[in-house]
Symmetry: C2
């Protein structure tokens, strides 16, 4: 009996061991976007959820369902067959699923696109009620639901097709001038180049003259003989492009330009319309980026009406959000500013403004009462919309934690905020038309994904649509922990994410790799699933590496001062903070302090290279992807915000020019770039190689021909095989 029990124990032990062994190991195909099993290891999601007025819709392949936000009841609104039968009667092609159907008219028509047509379909009658051909080669399409007019670009020029089918070529410019496209290299929150007036009867658009900008000679090597593909690239301190704003009136066919004066060395950002469609607001910035002005122009004459607000800062101001008028009061708008150190909402009251004409040169000034709405050591991440009835603005903010993004209803009078949905995690929400409901989609470090419909009032029940299971539960997971360390300033808390090796043994000594980005506008550690751990971190943890990431000062979502400490000296404070991460690693007795590596891309490539040169006794191996090497070679808009111009800040540029210190390379450093990188042009890396050769040091190098600033698809798998092998060859 005892023997049998012993045997049983052995069997049980074996089973238990087998269960651990049964856990799967990751491959890069599991963990990398582009991998053939990547999709299965992502938390489940629901595609095609959206609002149709206050009715929630769920687009599936075969049918479009409605979900009652009060009780969650589902009904089929229309089927794929019904839609395609209706389309067939007018020979308008087909749709293949409901994921990308949109419903801009509350409880009225569906808007859908087939290959060649934009179509409105009456859901009740199941009839096409209107359609518009989509011009071949039309890019940057911007359709207005009020007028049903379409703005688009072909080549470098702007076109408009009105609801009646009339096509107009709005601009007729030479090659070097772009119209209707995003300008200023997508900085300042800019991501498009056309702006319909509220009624869709007037179109403001960007015109960017870059004929005076030098070409960067990109080369396409995939043609029979390599061909030049020049790309206008204004480098820091060099001549930049000139942007103006046109206004096209489809009914008169006239175009006027805003009379903003000489556009040289100025930025025209955050274009928006007044609710009445009479005026256009622009936030204008000088090239130094330390002086922003909110300007108003007459949309019909282009005349400058007034300067409504201005903001200066000794380092920089960075307007990224257009003003938003209250839906119920056309005299009040919300302006977002970091002027108290954190991005917050300010309510401006136009009705009580006082115009001060200025006799000297410059715009008239309209002094407007301002009221700070939100306040605190946290930031408003975005304005989602309004609950008109409750007179609330719905925002996303970091009020609970800088790692999170939660929806809040803000009382515009009191500024009081009320959390909507779970207090944990990082949320993405869609607000229903009335503002009564959100579709809430979130993950948290221990929540794979939850989706639900939540009343913004805080009253009424949540309709749960998904509680996704942990997609990696079949895999042998490493331990992932979050913590804080003090920054190099001795006072600021920095977040870190530490991943221990799979099958961790506290008595072993492991090599460690720091994954770093470190630049502005990014945050690596968030309260998302597994704290946002990267797939490659898991892969390396499985191979026996300790993986650490620290969000240093200079990174985002921590307020202005946290970010702008790096001004005119990019890299310096950031590296000091990363060395605090190294101290943490060295304090862990399972980390082999002689085997510390570093990897990063873009700004993280700059950091990696810089760390390899500056702390060359600490870091043995580095892989720097698409690195900035010399900020002189980076573009004007982003580069000069943080570094000013090379003329103004020669010391800062020299100190951060890594070619100057190429001789300090001691460890193994591999530079990897997309051979056609238009963001951080190949000249950076090539100049660094030249400097290393001249200095007698030996970096390694690889390129991805045809790729840009990042690798996607299968190239991303190949890239991470390559990065992994480098650490395996030299750090393990």
């Amino acid at each position: 009996m005892k023997r049998i029990l012993n045997l049983l124990a052995i069997i049980l032990m074996t089973t238990s061991v087998m269960m651990a062994q049964d856990k799967k190991s990751f491959t890069l195909e599991d963990l990398m976007p582009g991998g053939n099993n990547y999709f299965n290891l992502q938390p489940k999601n629901i595609q095609g959820l959206r609002w149709w007025g206050d009715l929630c819709l769920q687009g599936e392949i075969d049918e479009l369902q409605t979900i009652n936000p009060a009780n969650g009841k589902k009904n089929t609104l229309i089927t794929l067959k019904e839609v395609n039968d209706a389309l067939a009667t007018k020979n308008l092609g087909k749709i293949h699923h409901f994921y990308s159907v949109s419903m801009p008219y509350a409880e009225k028509w569906l808007l859908l696109n087939t290959r060649n047509h934009r179509i409105l379909l009456d859901v009740d009658k199941k009839e096409v009620i209107w359609n518009q051909p989509i011009p071949t080669k039309a890019a940057n399409q911007d359709w207005n639901k009020e007028s049903r007019a379409l703005a688009y670009t072909i080549g470098n020029n702007l076109y408009v097709t009105t609801a009646d089918g009339k096509e107009t070529q709005v601009t007729n410019e030479a090659d070097g001038i772009l119209c209707g496209q995003s300008v200023h290299r997508d900085e300042f929150g800019i991501h498009k180049g056309t702006f319909w007036s509220p009624k869709g009867n007037m179109l403001a658009f960007y015109r960017m003259d870059q004929s005076m900008v030098t070409d960067y000679p990109q080369v396409n090597t995939s043609t029979r003989i390599a061909t030049l593909e020049p790309d206008k690239y204004p480098m820091a301190g060099m001549t930049s492009h000139k942007v103006t704003i046109g206004v096209f009136n489809p009914s008169t066919q006239q175009t006027i330009y805003l009379k903003a004066g000489d556009p040289t060395d100025r930025y025209f950002t955050n274009v928006s319309w007044s609710p009445d469609g009479q005026s256009i607001y622009v936030i204008e910035l000088n090239r130094d980026q330390n002086h922003a002005q909110l300007m108003r122009y007459n949309a019909t004459t282009g005349e400058q009406e007034a300067m409504l607000y201005e903001e200066k800062h000794p380092k920089y101001v960075e307007p990224q959000n257009p003003i938003i008028f209250l839906p119920w009061d056309e005299t009040k708008f919300i302006y977002q500013s970091q002027r108290d150190g954190y991005n917050h909402l300010y309510l401006f009251d136009l009705a009580n403004g006082l115009m001060h004409p200025i006799e000297t040169e410059g715009p008239n000034i309209l002094h407007i009462p301002q009221q700070q709405i939100t306040k605190g050591e946290w930031i408003v991440k975005s304005v989602v919309g309004f609950n008109e009835k409750a007179k609330e603005v719905i925002i996303m903010s970091t009020e609970i934690s800088p790692l999170q993004s939660n929806a809040f209803a803000v009382n515009l009078k009191t500024g009081k905020t009320r959390l909507i949905g779970a207090a944990e995690g990082t949320h993405r929400v869609q607000l229903s038309e009335s503002g009564r409901y959100i579709i809430d989609n979130y993950t948290a470090h221990n929540v794979a994904r939850r989706i639900g419909i939540i009343p913004t009032s805080g009253k009424g029940k949540t309709i749960s649509l998904l509680d996704a299971e942990h997609p990696m539960k079949a895999y042998n997971m490493p331990e992932i922990t979050l913590g804080t360390i003090k920054a190099a300033d001795g006072k600021t808390d920095l977040y870190y994410r530490l991943v221990k090796p799979v099958d961790f043994d506290a008595n072993k000594k492991y090599p460690a790799i720091i994954y770093v980005y470190g630049g502005p506008h990014a945050q690596n550690i968030t309260d998302t699933y597994n704290y946002g751990v990267r797939g490659w971190d898991l892969y390396m943890a499985q191979k026996g590496y300790v993986m650490l990431t620290v969000d240093n000062r200079g990174s985002s979502n921590r307020g202005l001062e946290f970010e702008n400490v790096t001004h005119r000296q990019l890299g310096v404070e950031e590296m000091k903070d990363q060395m605090k991460g190294v101290e943490l690693l060295k304090s862990l007795n399972y980390v082999d302090a002689n085997r510390i590596g570093v990897h990063g891309w873009s700004f993280g490539g700059f950091m990696t290279t810089n760390l390899m040169l500056t702390y060359n006794d600490t870091f043995k191996v580095g892989v720097a992807g698409g690195p900035v090497i010399d900020w002189k070679m980076y573009e004007v808009m982003y580069g000069e915000r943080y570094m000013d111009t090379p003329q103004d800040n020669p010391e800062g540029y020299k100190n951060s020019d890594l070619t100057q210190r190429a001789g300090d390379l001691k460890g193994k450093l591999q530079i990897i770039i997309g051979a056609n990188d238009p963001v951080c042009v190949p000249q950076h890396s090539i100049a660094f190689l030249r400097a290393c050769i001249d200095a007698g040091t030996h970096p390694d190098y690889f390129i991805y021909p045809g790729d840009g600033h990042n690798m996607a698809g299968r190239d991303r798998i190949h890239l991470h095989e390559r990065i992994t092998q480098y650490f395996e060859d030299y750090l393990k």
Copy 2:
């Protein structure tokens, strides 16, 4: 006593060991051109030796000496001070040594160049008798000693300055048209673009229109922002340039062009003048390069006079030498041809030619009696000149061995050859004006360098000027041996050079590296000092590698059939022969057959990459420099000779296109290129990387920014550090 003897024995042993230890080890600074000790490890030489009529001159820094070729007696001809004093009187600048002074007029004047002047100096009177300003920016200078006229180019155009100082711009062409420069990418023995008539009163010149040729977009990354430096590069099968030949008459200031017909897809090579200056000879070749014609044109009218000789071959003909008239008989010239399988001399007799007018299209044919002068399974490497009195032509040939180059006097009547100088080694000679003496400079595998003056008659004594000591005698040398193996055809002997590791131990197992070139026009193994061993071979032998080089079929100096076996299938036979070298290595019990590497540059880079892919179980590590990857991307002249066009030989191009087999890469392969390589353009390597990425294989890559097809100076040191490290990392 016994004890003391034992002690002595120990001391003696220690001493003996210490003596071996005392031998120095090589560094790359010792072995590489560009290294700071390279010069000291080269065999001593004598700079500035040349003929002045039949008097030998030795230019030193401070003085110019004469050496009597009969007895070796030296006299000072003139001192640096005397020359510079004479120049000072006319304000003509200075010379700093006599190394580059030339003496074109037998026992008459010196010709010398200062920074801005070309000067004739009377040695006896120590007076400047004539001078000519050297135009600023003048390139491709071609001065004629008879007329003292200078031809030169500025930009893409041709200029002439006559002895009287009159400057003429001969051509005035647009950018895409080059005049007075070498054409056809220096193939067919072409290395210049101007050809003075014997009296220097007429100038033939090349004009190359390459406006129809595609640009390869080379990029200069050393400017503030990278700049395009387009380079006309006709790729195999694509549109090529058009060459014509002009004749400028300085006295009439007129230019005519030879009436050669449509120049499309034709090569105009080996331009020369008739001794009377009335006619111009050109060897013309079709684009297929399988049909050469020797044509004569009237130099005044440009009319085609006759076709004197033609040669066809099913694979290719490759004329590389202009015809040479006998100095004593203007009716006879020497033509060099490989028509019997080896390059030999043929004497053509114009006096007994018969003109056959042709009624159909095409040139008149002049049938000329021809007599083969030299014959045998060896090749004439060059014609050095003539001994007019003895009616002999002096040549360099491989008559003794394909590894050697020796001077011979050839009796023009009998074809009998008489060796001049030592029977061993590889000689470079200068022939005195009368042809009675040579300055002979040679090395052999065990001869560092010997220089002497030797009578071409074979009678009279040799004046020894230098017997250089072995420059590496202080170093611990590896054993270097020469041998032959059978080629893959089972019959042809191939030469190999084997270098054993320094401090060789027959009981050890060493890794081995094959250094390969393997293409036409080159030979790696010669009877030169240490059999022409490369500095890097010595370095690697010192690090414990066995180094092997095999000159496979397809390489030079072994005759036409040996070379053209590779036609339309470059790489195939060459690799089979290299695998015979691998068999040799595997037969050596001190070679570790699991650690065989390969390295080569250019054609050798093609071979290296090809071997790594084709024999991927044999080669573990390869370093391919500036490799051809796909012959479609190589230039027309060289590429189509061996491969025909991609249109004519699609199978051959496909089979040798290494991108097609990128997935076969198993070992470690590093590709290294000059980032601005104008010979084997970067597209080759970049296309290969793309193919490897797509196939999921992992080559390594490095570039030398700003460098061309080869690295020079300090970059060459850096390069070899890099190549070495790669083998040390992965093969050792």
